[in-house]
């Protein structure tokens, strides 16, 4: 962010900025944290595709095929990716939202409920039946309401964010069941516009050669949505007063308040943003599974939080980027995907994911400590 602003200004008003080479500029735009993520990603791909063969593992050669990249990998990262992007905002502000998995469940049930015209929300008749657009809107709104509740609990009731959303994790999971008719999944949802969200393809006609024995079939709409949301949140965090406030609160909430940031309003808004994105993730889950299932979002929050910390956000707040989270989501996706290809079972994958998070945070803590030592010497 900083380098971009610098390049836009006239040099007279600003104190002298040193001329930097293109490579240097690019590197500092990406940031050292993101650079190490990119290296980790390249290393991981190398391990999967080349090094695995040295250890007698087979399957790594299937990584680079359109089938694997566009169907398995690109779709697998979408839901966790969305939740992680919302979570990034919260974690930069120095808080946490554990309830996003349950909010996704609510979004999933509400969307299916509106589409089918049954269940608590569907039978209200506010949203017209059989409209995919209305289903999406209802799912997002439900998520925003849930986020607003989180925000009120954290601000007005002054409950620690971790505890508050741990509570609403359970409560929202229950509400997802209560919203479904008799607590049962709503499905099978076959409205074509709605299932297009999960099954549709974008840019199917791109003249790309076949790769790994599979033809180019386009980018999944799911992935397109993930990228759009990522860009949307990225822009908010980087260019708006809201984004400035989030970074300031995470960096030093007391100073931010005394400089005129309305902490309550910003915190409620950020939980609404995270909730709305989680609601959208739930809608997409419903589209992919063709059912509004109250357990759709279970357990997703841990993967989302993992990705944010892996992406370079600081546990203490004030630091982190949407881009970093996005890279981390891809990294986790590639890890899971590669281990699938190489024939590791899901239990091993979970162990690997857990270790990855701990290693990533340990490295970040070590770097922070080193930076602080350097500062105290200065």
């Amino acid at each position: 962010m900083n380098t971009e602003i610098a390049s836009q200004t006239n040099e007279q008003a600003a104190p002298q900025v040193k001329k930097e080479s293109f490579i240097h500029k690019l590197m500092s735009t990406i940031g050292p944290d993101n650079l190490s993520l990119i290296f980790a990603l390249i290393l991981l791909v190398f391990l999967i595709t080349v090094a695995s063969a040295w250890f007698g593992l087979s399957g790594g050669d299937r990584f680079f095929s359109w089938q694997n990249l566009m169907n398995s990998l690109a779709q697998a990262i979408v839901i966790v990716g969305l939740l992680a992007i919302g979570q990034t905002v919260i974690i930069i502000a120095g808080a946490l939202d554990i309830s996003v998995g349950s909010i996704a469940s609510i979004g999933s049930v509400v969307a299916a409920s509106v589409l089918a015209g049954i269940g608590t929300v569907g039978s209200l008749g506010i949203f017209p039946k059989d409209s995919a657009l209305m289903a999406v809107v209802a799912g997002i709104l439900a998520g925003m309401v849930a986020g607003m509740i989180n925000g009120f609990i954290v601000t007005y009731l002054r409950v620690n964010p971790t505890i508050a959303t741990l509570g609403t994790l359970a409560a929202f999971a229950g509400i997802a069941f209560l919203l479904a008719p008799e607590g049962k999944p709503i499905g099978v949802v076959t409205q074509p516009d709605f299932t297009y969200l999960a099954q549709g393809r974008f840019l199917t006609d791109l003249p790309l050669p076949a790769m790994g024995g599979a033809k180019w079939t386009g980018i999944p709409i799911l992935t397109v949505i993930l990228v759009i949301v990522a860009i949307f949140v990225h822009v908010i965090m980087r260019y708006t007063d809201f984004g400035r406030a989030i970074y300031a609160i995470g960096g030093n909430a007391v100073a931010a308040r005394l400089a005129g940031i309305n902490l309550t309003r910003i915190r409620v808004m950020m939980y609404m943003l995270s909730g709305g994105i989680a609601g959208l993730a739930g809608v997409l889950l419903a589209a992919r599974t063709t059912s509004g299932n109250p357990v759709n979002g279970n357990g997703l929050e841990l993967q989302a939080i993992t990705a944010v910390f892996l992406g370079g956000a600081a546990t203490s707040g004030g630091k982190g980027t949407v881009f970093g989270t996005f890279l981390a989501v891809i990294l986790v996706g590639v890890l899971n995907n590669g281990m699938n290809l190489l024939g590791f079972n899901t239990f091993t994958q979970r162990v690997a994911l857990g270790l990855l998070l701990i290693v990533a945070v340990a490295i970040s803590q070590w770097r922070q400590a080193r930076a602080e030592r350097a500062r105290s010497r200065a």
Binding site: A6, Q8, A13, T240, D241, R244, L258, A259
Partner: protein, 532 residues
């Protein structure tokens, strides 16, 4: 350097030679200690004698705490020595000082919340047999010593650490020191949170320890207590030892005179430009910290708020700024009564507040100079919530230049700048916000002399441009040199209003320190009644 060189105006410091000899005397010789930008102690020589209570007095920043910390092994002197019985003492940490029988009791003793009084007293030295704590023996020991020192009623043994009052915590800390054979005991403002009865008990204990041959250092701002309790008084000023006198030769006025005795430096060049145009009036303000506060600030006026640390000045700023709750009273800004519930409302109505603690309350250290400077005007530099980097630079860079903030770029994390430059970033923020009233809380704390002078010049300039400035400072020369009018606060109340041109440090300290209800020896009490 001889002693007379350090304190040319006062020559009654006893010749070190005549003090030597008494066993158990802690001899401090030529101790100096510097921190970046400040000489905290300058060639201090002093004897702390067994069987005597010696008071340390001085203004905030005079060097009392630094001296205590050197005695306690928290700091090591840059030069000079400590010795006892002819043996040089070098403490690399407080534990080493403890071993030599030196204990310093700070205002907030370390207490372990989850365990009882006895365990807290014997922490680290619990009586054990075969690795098991002998609880009965422990309780008996503690009970016996509590009765012996008369604290058995005040400090019930069944209380847990977190249930103890401040006074009880002090007693626990004192009991800790007693059981391990203390030779030099220092108490740092021990009575600040005690009731009268508790103070009496504490004094009884201190006198008893003195009579048993312990050397006692007593640090306090309360002149009355000092005169009542102490045998000798050592007065520090700007890191120099100014005088050591028997308490019986001193009185309130004399102590205050010795503590101050400073000439104003010519770095202040305030030309009063106050108008009659009132920008801020506070009427009958009451809060959890304050009682009946009335004051006003005119446009173009620098109004100093003097007082000791803890007098309620910072809290007053925060109440006005909407950061702490107000219980009753009126705040009138530009002739209109305003209700301010949050800092953002205060800023919107034209109040700026540069906090005393830059790092904790002022700046987001990991964010850039630019972001820190523009944070208070985000809505003004945003269009449809998008921060315009053009408007942002336009609003900020002028002030960054004017204040001569030394930073490689506006994108530098503000935490990497020096203290003085950080403070200038805070000032740039508030100048950009274009307030009517600017509250400056200790604006020059922890910054070097050069930057100080620049900030003084700036304050003068801002006032001349019509800003009303509320200047909170614990440095009296700063208050006297800059203020057009001065309010003095003590214990949550305004005890007097003085004219900036004629006020003296003695007057201010009198109003700030001397208990207004009990002292009638000086003209101070009449001044306090003259306000408004």
């Amino acid at each position: 350097m001889t002693m007379t060189d350090i304190a040319p105006s006062i020559s009654n410091i006893p010749d070190p030679q005549e003090l030597e000899g008494k066993p158990g005397t802690l001899e401090i010789r030529n101790v100096s200690k510097a921190f970046p930008n400040v000489q905290a102690l300058n060639n201090v020589s002093l004897d702390i004698r067994p069987g005597e209570i010696l008071a340390f007095m001085g203004e905030n920043g005079a060097g009392k705490s630094t001296l205590l910390k050197i005695i306690n092994g928290d700091y090591q002197p840059d030069s000079g020595t400590l010795s006892m019985d002819g043996e040089t003492l070098e403490f690399s940490n407080p534990l080493a000082a403890h071993k030599a029988g030196i204990r310093v009791i700070y205002q907030e003793p370390e207490i372990i919340p989850g365990v009882g009084v006895a365990e807290n007293i014997y922490v680290g030295e619990l009586p054990r047999r075969l690795g098991i704590v002998q609880r009965r023996k422990l309780n008996e020991q503690v009970k016996r010593s509590l009765i012996e020192y008369g604290f058995d009623k005040v400090l019930p043994m069944d209380l847990m650490g977190d249930q103890l009052s401040s006074a009880q915590r002090q007693i626990v800390e004192i009991m800790r020191t007693l059981k391990s054979g203390v030779r030099v005991l220092a108490l740092d403002e021990p009575t600040s949170s005690l009731s009268d009865e508790e103070v009496d008990r504490l004094f009884t204990l201190i006198r008893r320890l003195r009579d048993e041959g312990v050397a006692i250092i007593y640090v306090s701002h309360r002149i009355k207590e000092i005169l009542q309790l102490c045998d000798r008084v050592a007065i520090l000023r700007d890191g120099n030892l100014i005088a050591v006198k028997p308490a019986k030769d001193l009185n309130d006025a004399e102590i205050v005179r010795l503590m101050v005795g400073r000439e104003l430096k010519d770095i202040f060049s305030r030309k009063p430009a106050g108008s009659d145009n009132e920008v801020l009036r506070v009427e009958n303000l009451n809060s959890n910290w304050h009682n009946q506060i009335d004051f006003k600030i005119n446009a173009g006026e620098v109004v100093g708020f003097a007082g000791l640390v803890g007098a309620g000045r910072t809290e007053l700023a925060k109440v006005i700024f909407g950061d702490l709750p107000i219980n009753s009273g009126k705040i009138i800004l530009d002739g209109q009564e305003v209700k301010i519930r949050r800092p953002d409302e205060a800023i919107a109505k034209g109040i700026g507040f540069a906090t005393e603690d830059r790092k904790r309350e002022g700046l987001v250290l990991i964010r850039s100079v630019l972001e820190n400077a523009s944070i208070a005007i985000l809505s003004r530099i945003s269009r449809f919530h998008f921060v315009s980097s053009r408007l942002e630079r336009l609003a900020i860079s002028g002030f960054i230049d004017k204040l001569q903030v030394r930073t490689p770029s506006l994108n530098q994390p503000v935490g990497k700048l020096s203290g003085g430059n950080q403070q200038k970033v805070v000032l740039a923020r508030w100048l950009a916000a274009k307030p009517k009233v600017l509250i400056l809380d200790e604006p020059t704390r922890g910054i070097d002399v050069g930057a100080k002078a620049e900030i003084y010049r700036l304050i003068d300039e801002l006032a001349n441009e019509g800003l009303g400035i509320m200047l909170i400072s614990s440095e009296l020369p700063e208050i006297l040199g800059l203020s057009d009018r001065i309010y003095v606060m003590q214990n949550g109340q305004i005890t007097g209003e003085l004219d900036g041109a004629t006020a003296t440090e003695e007057e201010i300290l009198g109003l700030a320190m001397v208990d207004q209800l009990t002292t009638s020896s000086t003209e101070n009490s009449t001044v306090s009644q003259e306000r408004n």
